[in-house]
Amino acid sequence: MAYEKILTRYRDLPNYTGTIDEYITQGGYQALPKALREFQPADLIEIVKRSGLRGRGGAGFPCGVKWGFTPKDSPKPKYLVCNCDESEPGTFKDRMLIEEEPHQLIEGLIISSYAIGCRLAFIYCRGEFVSGAQVLERALREAYGRGYLGTNILGSGFDLDVHVHRGAGAYICGEETGLLESLEGKRGQPRMKPPFPAISGLYRSPTVVNNVETLSNIPHIVLRGAEWYAGIGPPKSAGPRLFSVSGHVERPGNYELPMSITLRELIFDHAGGIPNGRRLKAVIPGGSSAPVLTEQHLDVPMDFESLAAAGSMGGSGGVIVMDDTVCMVRVGEIVSRFYHHESCGQCTQCREGTAWLHKVLRRIEHGQGRKEDLDLLLDMCDNMKGKTICVLSDAAAMPIESYLKHFREEFEIHIRERACPFEGKGAF
């Protein structure tokens, strides 16, 4: 049965540019008056809980539950911050959503602000999203012009201002407390938790941080109901998901699908399979922090639970496909270089661990590996997990462990032959 696109329905419309008029013609800004007139804020939190919507940024935390953690009677103002710091390698869906359909996000942001009692919200874009931020600024001006933002929105008595705030290039600002530090004008160093942002977040006030795709779902849930939404995909991973498919596939791109889709269907039916008659060697299913999977996992459905059971994670939905010309040691070298560069340096395990992971992987790739290096890598990974302020350290260790688990022989060949067997003929 053909899947009915929800978040990216607009992509099938010719010449669609995402202006407010086009969005309204397609049924946009109908959920906002419905939310303001028919529901109390607490009702909306219940609806989003019942819908089963889980965060699309990486952690997959239930959205309505997150909203429910904010205190009902807070003497301090509450803030909603949209996390548009999309930086997880392999992920490019939020950039598409803000550039192509900004009002879907803005409508979701307004409804969500009403639900949690926020009157000042921010959209934190990664610094590199120069044009995306401009599109959002223009869309916000349009929304103010129509009375969807500002004071007494649609005569409801609800006031809301929204600003776009650009970062300046730092992966760690996608971690929600690192993001809040950055938004406060500081280095993006994650905070100790608890307290969680719902209690003490931006300016030490109750704050909800939600991903772009997560918020873009909200208008549809309000219009069509929690039960409709919960009926899409597997029960614990409800709703549509945008999968960013990249690497060695015929048709890379963003695919909106229910999470019941298998890795095989996603890679071969939707993305067109592996080019040049090559075979699939490895696939990272949820951004570069996710442990790698192989051919034997192709029939795993892409929901949060199934991917976890297969030893990986749904993460950010970034699916990186690699064919049989790819050297997994080189992949480890690139991935560990990234986490080393992006470690904020607060915690010793992460600052030192990411540096040493990269150093050891680089020497193995370049024919300088030692016999004891593989156990050394695993020992370092073990010391990096669950011991730091945020999960960047875990995110650096988990993929390397998985490369060793599935491709240990390839690492051993590098060490034994004192050279990379793919040198000069591989994908890199």
Binding site: G90, R166, A170, E184, G188, I334, A427, F428
Partner: protein, 163 residues
Amino acid sequence: MISDETRKRFDELVKRYPEKRSALIPILHEVQAEVGYLSPEAIAWVAAYLTLSPADVMSVASFYDMLHLEPVGKHMIYACHNLTCSLLGAERLIRHLEDRLGIRMGETTPDGLISLKRMECLASCGTAPAIQIDGVYYERVTPQKLDELLEKLRNGRLQGSRT
């Protein structure tokens, strides 16, 4: 060093935020665009404007990849070297860039026109390999396409926005 017009924009910008320090990174972006890079004088100006210490501003500026504490070229080319771009030829593209410009990544051409910088994932993996020139994306880049872009850049025919 900062024009009155820009300063007036900053006066408006700080009003967006309950705490004015929040305007620091947006202000650093704009000052960098106006001055060319975040010189010690620029850092001192921003610090005085927001009543922070220069060391405090420096600690923030040094944290972020897009803020430059050393002089950079008039044009900035970011080349993604993360996983998907690497799978699809990023390192070959980077070598081509270095050869064409006669400089290495992290350096600036002697005429001060172009700087090269390796960047982590630019969220352009579906159209890899990707680069950014002055904040504008160029995707599915080939060496040939790169030559055309460099030609346009030298002739001032490439539109970009530095902030």
